[in-house]
Amino acid sequence: MNNPIDLRSRAAHPHGETRRRPAWPFAALVLAGAVLAQPAWAKDAIKVCFVDDRSGAAADTGIQSYNGFQLALAEVNAAGGIAGHPVEAVAYDGKTDPQLTATFASRCAEDDGALAIVGGNPAAPAAAMIPIATEYEIPYLMLSAGTDNLTDAPAPFHFRVGPRNSQDANAIAGLVSTQGFKRVAIINNSLPFGTDSAHAALAALKAKNIEVVAQQTYDINATDLAPQVSTLRNAKPDVVLVFPYAADGARVLRTLQQLGMQTPRIVARSALLSTLRDLAGAASDGVLIPNTVDIHRDDVKRLFEAYKARFGAEQPTMYPVLGYDAAKLVFKALAEPKVLAALDDGELAAARVALRDAIVANGHYAGLQGRTGATYQFSESQRHGPPDDNWFVFVQVTGNGKQLVDADLAAFTPTP
């Protein structure tokens, strides 16, 4: 304790008291070092807001997307920022509360002076931010919120980076058809994601003349799903489609297992979240999930290695990639001369308009979603980025729910 370089040490006082060594010279040294260690940025920081749910029912999606966003941010700042401007993230946790999320979005637009807003995994908070983006004319890049009509209304500053529910549904219906399934059962939760997805799946299956033999809806908090699963079992389907959130999805899979249903299962994108698979354990093994990330792409592998190094291991799913791609889309557009000119003139409103135009102009950006060669498809009349083709990759759960691997489609066929 008497080590003189230990700032916490106290020298013995002649009268038995202790006195604190003055710590300010060392603190000043540390502060000076910290200041000098910062890169000397020539220009003011450009702020980009990240507003999403990092607590509440959809916390996993928001946390992973924010991590992906931070990786892109670190990359751009390590490369010298954007024309000498460092990029700064201003992050808010909307707590899955649409009203709070909308208030944070307006704070981004007004108080923070952000150039763009990224975020929006659950549909309701995402929907609440759209009028804010329109009113303040600030580009808003929505992530995985899948409700189809979110991008239907004219909202010139709104862009969707993730797939919509009908695209998942079409991909699933395509797989069901290709694999030769004839009798489909659907089970979904009563939240907007569950009902919207089931609605889209019914339409997609009908378009392919595939019979839906049963459909069941349950409350997300229901603990006993045996009645719904029994109804499915009695309908004798040859494949079961599940549209859940994380925890309730695990209950569905465990109930299917407990009631002895060995039927092939396809679970919506929520099964990409480790929470669902951890809770379901072995009951999730063999499940197929539509993903928008091709795990064989080298650039995807590099991203998830960087993710692992900074945040810990994560299976290659769409959520970190959505945050990363959205950030990259914004950064690429920020580097456009018109945006930079408006920024240098201190014209925030003009910079936002120029940024919106630049995102549209770079509409065929090749990100990390989709198969190799697939690009986004933003345009003046198209604010939904993911294309219908060459975008989805099915992955399969294995290892007691721990791993996602290539889907073994040869074995994923109707049970004789």
């Binding site: 808010y92 009203q99 909308a102 208030t103 944070f104 637009a109 007004e110 108080d111 409700t147 609605h199």
Partner: protein, 329 residues
């Protein structure tokens, strides 16, 4: 004691001060974001005054207020979409709220305590479910856009909308003060205390319960219309749990059965999350701890705390308790 009495029960004085303060606020704010927060404070005040009258004064707990909040907002959005002007769409939306409350109120108000809470909660759940699934009418999860407010050809600005909300919030507080200070208020107190005893004294319990239920739902609908105008959108989340949680939190923080608890609670509940963002990941934890502290140390909310403080500050010297005398053995 007169000063204390005036402080606690004056019908006009405090609302007038609130109105003056509310009118000054836009001149003190630096951005439209702050104006949005102030507008939301007014909206939650209107919403929670209705809940306060129903539960705080009459003792009838409704967990379906968020349903009426959404009903007012959706009715207004649908009517304006159908081409109705504001001055017709607003009262018509409130009439819709009143009509629905009358229809469901007659059977619901036969129930008491948690049975009434559960039944009214079901109404809220049903409404949110219908709003998210009747896609052709309500727009589903994406909801519906609400056009900017136009009155007599004039496009109402954010600041003008805020002034309108302040005036309505103060009018609602005045209405509450009037109700509480009259015969009707005493009837509501009696309902909260003992319905059977109230009936034995000649109070038409069913009629009064229905009246206050209708009034609270109309106020919820009015707040919903205000929120639709501020958000320029309605969606199913208007009728979901976060709104109910906000109502309950405002009640806990502000104080139930008090005249200005709704306003005080709304100020704290709207502003606190914005202030707590500085704490990053600890924000939610701190918010929860603060609410627990409110429950433990301010069971009557901020309103009760301020009243106790005023009583202590303004208590005349003569009214202070006399020092205990030591009695010699």
């Amino acid at each position: 004691m007169n000063r204390i009495h005036a402080l606690g029960t004056g019908i006009w004085q405090i609302p007038l001060l609130i109105l003056l303060a509310g009118l000054v606020v836009p001149h003190l704010l630096s951005s439209g974001f702050h104006l949005r927060l102030a507008s939301i404070v007014c909206i939650y005040t209107i919403l929670c005054v209705g809940f306060n009258l129903l539960y705080g004064y009459a003792g009838q707990i409704s967990m379906g207020q968020q349903g009426f909040f959404a009903l007012g907002a959706y009715a207004y959005a649908l009517l304006t979409q159908a081409g109705w002007p504001f001055y017709a769409a607003l009262p018509a939306s409130l009439l819709v709220c009143a009509g629905v409350t009358l229809v469901i109120g007659v059977p619901l108000l036969r129930l008491r305590s948690h049975y009434l809470a559960m039944a009214s909660l079901c109404f809220g759940l049903i409404f949110a479910g219908v709003a998210s699934r009747w896609i052709d009418v309500t727009g589903g999860t994406a909801g519906m856009m609400v056009p900017s407010l136009k009155v007599a050809g004039h496009l109402v600005s954010r600041t003008e909308l805020y002034y309108g909300l302040v005036v309505i919030a103060v009018a609602v507080l005045l209405l509450q003060n009037f109700i509480v200070g009259t015969h009707l208020g005493r009837v509501l107190y009696s309902l909260r205390g003992d319905e059977t005893a109230a009936e034995s004294l000649g109070v038409n319990v069913t009629a009064y319960k229905l009246r206050v239920f209708v009034l609270s739902s109309v106020l919820a609908g009015l707040a919903g219309v205000g929120f639709a105008l501020v958000s320029r959108q309605v969606n199913p989340s208007f009728g979901e749990f976060p709104i109910l949680v906000t109502i309950l939190t405002v009640s806990v923080v502000g104080g139930l059965g008090t005249r200005y608890g709704a306003l005080l609670g709304a100020i704290v509940v709207v502003l606190a999350p914005q202030g707590l963002t500085a704490f990053g990941d600890l924000e939610t934890l701190l918010y929860g701890v603060c609410l627990l502290l409110f429950l433990l140390f301010m069971p009557h909310g901020l309103s009760g705390f301020l009243r106790a403080l005023c009583l202590r500050l303004f208590r005349p010297a003569a009214a202070k308790p006399a020092p205990r005398l030591k009695v010699s053995p």
